[in-house]
């Protein structure tokens, strides 16, 4: 296996982790990773140096955006069934971090995970999301505010469910 493929192979665990946090479903996550790997492997000849890590994260992030957009376009009944695993948690499940992340807007969730879970710099995240650093900071700030509010809001409700 050549250096390009070895570098991609080394990235698989991290990509799985990112995809799992993005989608909450292990199968959907591995679907995304598989699609990302296939596309990356096909473009091998294009890759003359450059940041392979960022490139892989970019492909995966965009594949997920596209997937969610096409889910949103489907008739309501199908949408409910297919996104059941990704819907915000019910009161019985409680307001945990996974549900909090799922409740975020796609771009905010991706920005937060790329920084916190994947350890990428703000500059790298800006490149991956195709936006200025200021936009990344704004998404990060909003994501943190929303998650905090979501998790705190849960406490009174949880007491009632007891």
């Amino acid at each position: 296996m050549n250096a390009f493929r070895q570098s991609i192979e080394a990235m698989i665990p991290a990509l799985r982790r990112y995809a799992r946090a993005l989608t909450r479903d292990a199968d959907i996550a591995d679907d995304l990773v598989q699609d990302t790997l296939v596309r990356a492997l096909r473009a091998e000849r294009l890759f003359v140096g450059g940041d392979l890590r960022s490139w892989l994260y970019t492909i995966l992030t965009n594949l997920n955006r596209n997937r969610r957009r096409s889910l949103a376009r489907r008739p309501t009944i199908m949408t409910l069934v297919d996104t059941a695993t990704e819907a915000s948690g019910t009161e019985a499940e409680g307001r945990d971090i996974a549900n909090a992340l799922a409740a975020l807007v796609e771009d905010q969730r991706a920005a937060l995970l790329l920084v916190v879970l994947e350890g990428l710099s703000y500059r790298e995240v800006a490149d991956i999301q195709g936006v200025p650093i200021g936009t990344v900071m704004s998404r990060l700030a909003r994501a943190r505010a929303h998650v905090k509010a979501y998790l705190e809001e849960g406490r009174p409700a949880l007491r009632r469910v007891k």
């Binding site: 790997l37 096909r42 000849r45 450059g50 594949l63 992340l101 920084v115 916190v116």
Partner: protein, 255 residues
């Protein structure tokens, strides 16, 4: 003004929590947090959230990688792209000027010549419109209806890739007749006045890998995917066009 006197910004608080703060600002931020308990509380909350996220998902990296993601298996499913590239190089020797079009020789896959014909159309359009000073594009990149309009006509959700890392800025786009359906042409420009275009239209051929070619001062990279063909055209600079194509490939909407 020393570093400590420059006011601490909200962004710096986030950067501090994420260990992305430049070293010279550390003391200033720590002093600020010591003096502003509400901000210190928020920063602690953000750190706690970071820990929660890592605790919840960190261990995925330790899981054994499932067989379906084995690279050799994924590679085995690929079409024989190397053959196309070799054939393309041979065909180039037979191509006459701009009239390549369809080849009568049937030893070569029709799919390959369809994408080469597309390359010709795209490069012709590239050369024609990039020469324009007043009307290079029809609708500006800043107009909201650019993408919905072209997407509707071409038949797929189009997205003009962000090439700002390569210093190319989107000028806008236009609609063109393609071989079997309308085509979209996006044009980008850098500070030196170099222009690159992205051409997209329906093309019913099996997915191909990307092939670079040069022709009379213009370079181009063509690929086909999911019944659409794509061509990046620009100056005859191979590494530049390969970078543009890689960036576009990573970002395109049709997947």
């Amino acid at each position: 003004m020393s570093e400590r006197d420059i006011p601490v910004t909200e962004d710096e608080l986030h950067a501090y929590v994420d260990d992305q703060l430049p070293a010279e600002r550390r003391l200033a931020v720590e002093a600020w947090l010591a003096a502003h308990p509400d901000d210190a509380e928020r920063a602690r909350g953000w750190r706690a959230l970071n820990e929660q996220i890592r605790d919840r998902y960190g261990r995925v990296v330790d899981e054994p990688v499932p067989q379906r993601l084995d690279l050799d298996r994924l590679m085995a499913r690929r079409p024989r792209l190397l053959i196309f590239a070799a054939v393309a190089a041979v065909l180039l020797a037979f191509v006459v000027g701009g009239g390549a079009g369809w080849m009568a020789h049937d030893a070569f896959a029709t799919e390959m010549t369809a994408s080469e014909a597309l390359r010709d159309d795209a490069v012709i359009a590239h050369k024609l419109y990039t020469k324009e000073q007043r009307h290079p594009i029809e609708v500006s990149g800043s107009e909201e209806h650019l993408l919905p309009w072209l997407s509707r006509r071409v038949g797929t959700t189009l997205r003009a890739p962000d090439l700002t890392q390569l210093n190319f800025h989107l000028m806008g786009g236009r609609l063109l007749p393609g071989p079997s359906a309308p085509a979209a042409l996006f044009m980008y420009e850098n500070d030196s006045g170099d222009r690159v275009t992205l051409y997209c239209t329906p093309l019913k051929v099996p997915t191909t890998g990307m092939v670079y070619k040069e022709d009379e001062g213009a370079g181009s990279v063509v690929w086909a995917h999911d019944d659409f063909g794509w061509v990046i055209s620009g100056p005859a600079k191979k590494d530049l066009l390969k970078s543009v194509a890689a960036a576009a490939y990573a970002q395109l909407e049709t997947w």
